[in-house]
């Protein structure tokens, strides 16, 4: 009993001693707690530190994280190769087409010039009339033929031949089968002639043509009747590149939704 009472007294003395010795620390802890609990005060205290670290991060980011970021990009590029190529393909295609188009235009101008010089004495009135209207000889010859019309258009998965979407002026035979057969023909021709990285671009019978515009994981097949000048074909190719860029880069996950979305877009854009 006496021992217990002594222990109690010791404890009280120890507490008093602690209060005296740790008074300043306790006040400091209380202030610190208040600072932590009040978001405004905390923000004021921390902001300069964060800003300083941010500045450091901004200035030293390339040095500190270059290797990590390079590695991450490399992994991402490898994992999403198909998606990236689908995005890049139309853009690259446009640039290449623009250049090729320019070169062809130069060639065409030079042919026109030669024709003008060679047949100067004949058809002077015909050429005079056309030149007044700003029409070149080659364009006139092509324009004399019938205008073209898009009869059918298909977006087809490149390897499997499965249909992403289609639109047509009239009801044709099963469009899945057409897409499959077109892919089979395309694969057959490309394999038979063993031209690596070259694609079949056109199938023609009579005045009916099927133009094939190739992308990385799909291709677009357009059945056309009538005649088409090189300028019109160029214009259509550009329209297809634009269409691919706008409509085919992001497709829904569900196959039925893909078919519906692509088919509606094709009909709105290409079938008049």
């Amino acid at each position: 009993m006496v021992a217990t009472s002594h222990k109690k007294q010791d404890k009280e003395l120890l507490n008093q001693l602690q209060s005296i010795l740790l008074k300043e620390e306790r006040v400091a802890i209380e202030r610190l707690q208040e600072t932590i609990d009040d978001p405004v005060i905390l923000s004021e205290k921390i902001r300069p530190i964060i800003e300083e670290r941010m500045l450091f991060f901004k200035e030293n980011f390339p040095k500190e994280f270059k290797v990590t970021v390079d590695k991450m990009i490399e992994v991402k590029l490898k994992a999403s190769q198909e998606e990236i190529l689908d995005v890049i393909y139309p853009v690259m295609g446009k640039m290449i087409k623009k250049y090729v188009n320019h070169q062809i235009q130069m060639l065409k101008d030079s042919i026109d010039e030669s024709i003008k010089k060679t047949f100067f004495s004949r058809g002077i009135l015909w050429r005079l009339k056309n030149s007044l209207l700003g029409i070149t000889v080659s364009d006139q010859v092509i324009h004399d033929l019938k205008d073209y019309q898009i009869e059918e258009i298909y977006v087809i998965q490149r390897n499997s031949g499965l249909l992403f979407g289609s639109a047509s002026t009239e009801n044709t035979i099963d469009q899945d089968v057409i897409a499959g057969m077109l892919t089979a023909i395309k694969s057959f021709v490309e394999d038979a002639f063993k031209r690596e990285r070259e694609d079949l671009e056109m199938i023609q019978y009579g005045t009916y043509k099927i133009l094939l515009q190739n992308f990385y994981s799909y291709y677009i097949a357009i059945a056309i009747s009538g005649s088409m000048s090189s300028t019109e074909r160029e214009g259509l190719a550009n329209e297809l590149l634009g269409f691919a860029e706008e409509e085919l880069n992001t497709l829904p996950a569900e196959p039925d939704q893909i078919f519906e979305k692509v088919s509606i877009s094709l009909r709105e854009k290409f079938i008049k």
């Binding site: 499965l162 099963d174 499959g180 089979a184 057959f188």
Partner: protein
């Protein structure tokens, strides 16, 4: 509806086109016309209320699968490798052919099918299949045979494609 590309391949004269016709159109012809290149057709199969569109590629027969243009196989979800139960020459290279197909399409389902079972008949009968003889042939084939069919009678043909469709939606 899901769509899947399925390839019919194997040596020449094993009945790929007959299976193709039997499955797509439900018909059979005794006339043999060799397939040039490839023929494509489609059939929609319904499995437990879900539709599966099978786009079937009937490829010209080749003695060895490395002779078939690789691009024909690309994008296929399944390959049906057909051999003739009455001609051992059509299955003697099956091991090598399977390796070639697995290398081209490692993730595809491959079904090995012995066709023309209607010609393996019990002696003295004209329409009773000799099961023992059929089993003997299946044992001779170096790998597991998934089905024996008859494009002529239609036996097991629908079943073969239904099983495939089932695996597609599984």
């Amino acid at each position: 509806m899901i769509s899947r590309k399925v390839i019919l391949t194997g040596s020449f004269g094993v009945g790929k086109t007959s299976l193709f016709r039997r499955f797509i159109k439900g018909t059979f012809s005794e006339k043999y016309i060799t397939t040039i290149g490839v023929k494509v057709d489609k059939k929609v199969v319904e499995i437990r209320g879900e539709e599966v569109s099978i786009l079937l590629w009937d490829i010209a027969g080749e003695v060895r699968q490395d002779k078939v243009p690789k691009s024909f196989f690309l994008g296929a979800s399944a390959i049906i490798y057909v051999f003739d139960l009455t001609r051992p020459s059509t299955y003697k290279n099956i091991g090598v052919d399977m390796k070639i197909l697995n290398d081209i399409l490692p993730d595809a389902i491959i079904k090995v099918v012995g066709n023309k079972e209607d010609l393996i008949l019990k002696e003295g009968t004209d329409n009773v299949i000799d099961i023992a003889a059929l089993d003997k042939i299946k044992k001779e084939v170096a790998i597991h045979v998934d089905a024996t069919t008859s494009a002529k009678t239609g036996d097991n043909v629908e079943q073969l494609f239904s099983n495939l469709a089932e695996e597609f939606i599984a």
